[in-house]
């Protein structure tokens, strides 16, 4: 009994401490700028939506809708293309062990390399081919970021499907491509959804490549949010800045909260198999 109570206390403290920056930002985002200056505490005297209204104003310098749109498009490219590329390769690994010894470890370890190593040459490469500051360019690089985990999750999922399913289809004269698209992919639906959600969150939260590869047209939300901290003239508008961080964090947070079961499982699978 006492131990259980103690567990709840520890849980409450841990939950509060781990989420503290989010809680503090959320509270601040509902305060007026006058209240922020006089009451930095974790309670609100007079809740207001003025910061959220301010955030949604488009100026020539700041445009939150553009950032949200850029992040969405780049993350969709980065996730969809990663799945499209990884799926047939995962099938070859799972069914024939093709690439299990060399390709797979190489790609999985990719996840552990500091991304900055590739950032400079990719910056130059993008400059040559005109992909700098485009949603497509950012999306393509997010494919690289998402590929390793996509491959691991999909290999695991395909390995669990009985080979007899393929063999029966082969007997009926179906080709590999047909088997993959009409038999394997539908069975792997939930793994594909998990990969998609996980990839989308990762892509949305990426910062380094957004910072280096975009300047005006294709700025993603994570980078755009930092613009609100360098507002021209006067100090930082803390209320607006808080609201923009909440807006920026919301899409992945909601996805994560809804899909926490799948995400926790694939996080663990990715770690153990990687």
């Amino acid at each position: 009994m006492i131990v259980t109570a103690l567990r709840w206390v520890v849980f409450a403290i841990a939950a509060f401490a781990l989420n503290f920056p989010v809680i503090a930002t959320l509270v601040t985002s509902f305060k007026s700028s006058r209240e922020i200056a006089t009451n930095p505490g974790l309670w609100i005297q007079a809740p207001t939506l003025e910061n959220y209204i301010a955030v949604l104003q488009v100026t020539d310098r700041l445009n939150i809708f553009a950032y949200l749109w850029n992040s969405t498009v780049a993350a969709l490219i980065g996730t969809t293309l990663a799945i499209v590329l990884a799926f047939p390769a995962a099938y070859a690994v799972a069914r024939a062990g093709y690439g299990r010894r060399m390709l797979m470890p190489l790609i999985v370890n990719l996840r552990a390399l500091p991304l900055i190593i590739f950032a400079i040459p990719i910056y130059m490469m993008f400059q040559w081919v005109g992909l700098l500051d485009t949603q497509l360019g950012l999306g393509l690089i997010l494919v690289v970021v998402n590929l390793p985990l996509a491959l691991v999750i999909l290999v695991n999922a395909i390995s669990e499907i009985p080979v007899e399913l393929d063999e029966a289809a082969l007997m009926d004269g179906a080709g590999r491509t047909k088997i993959i698209t009409t038999i394997i992919a539908p069975v792997c639906r939930s793994a594909i959804v998990t990969t998609f959600i996980f990839g989308f969150i990762t892509a949305w939260n990426e910062f380094l490549f957004g910072l280096m590869l975009t300047t005006r047209q294709a700025v993603p939300m994570t980078v755009g949010a930092s613009f609100f901290f360098s507002s021209g003239g006067g100090g930082i508008q803390w209320g607006t800045a808080s609201a923009v961080m909440i807006v920026a964090a919301l899409p992945p947070a909601v996805l994560g909260l809804v899909m926490y079961r799948q995400i926790s499982r694939s996080l663990t699978a990715g770690a153990v198999k990687g």
Partner: protein, 288 residues
Amino acid sequence: MDTRRHLEWGVLSAPMVIFLLLFLGFPALVNIVYSLSSVSFQTLRSPELSGFSNYVTVLTDGNFWRAIWFSLRFGTITALAECLIGFVLAIFLAPLFEKRSWLLAIIMLPLMVAPALVGLMYRLVLHEFVGPVPHYLWAWFGSAPAFLNATNAFWTLVVVETLQWTPFAFLLFYMAYRAIPFDVREAAQMDGSSAWDMLWRIEIPLMAPTIAIALFIRFIDGFRVFDNVYVLTGSGPGGSTRSLSIYVYEAFFRQGEIGPAVAASVLLFIASFAVLFAINQGLARRAR
């Protein structure tokens, strides 16, 4: 496997392999060529081979070694802290999660927020006039440290990183803890082992591979840290928080020193590869 079948399977991986060659192979090649050349933003397309002078520049730069030291120390300390706290929480709180798995979502939330945003949030949280942390420290203790000055910035960042990524270690340990077969625990209980005995003799040994993997992943992530450090302190007062990733970034974008920046990233690549190789070997040997 005969050649025809080999080809049949190879075709399936081909799109992914070609994509990676284009986006990683080619950049790696560019890295190597440019690191051996004298090049500036003006002569970007016509680098002139100049031997190893860029490497000499980097290797004789005190800031490079300080960045290595920062990254190693940061990676080690945060990995240990995250895994220790995550482990204790996972074991202690496991009974609560048994029937209420939605509680996991609350603990996992920090993992969903971009590290860059978390870093920005701390600019508010730690701000001396509008930040709640200094506010309460003043109210309760009558003083608050300057969290981001040269002496404190390192440890502030350690706490920031640890608070965000402890849930990751927690999650791995919780899953591994739950995966311990029921009959193993039962058998131990039959033998009259206390809970403490069980933890040290059975649970920790069974979870050892997961602990090793968690330490490894967290170390690597701490070692290559960029986002939260960049938005919170940049390279910090007096370069006190310049991680290796930030070192390379600054060399390229702030100083336009393309050659040395690229040479530094090649060195970083070699170092990471060596670490990865060593750890993979270690893990593989354990698995056997």
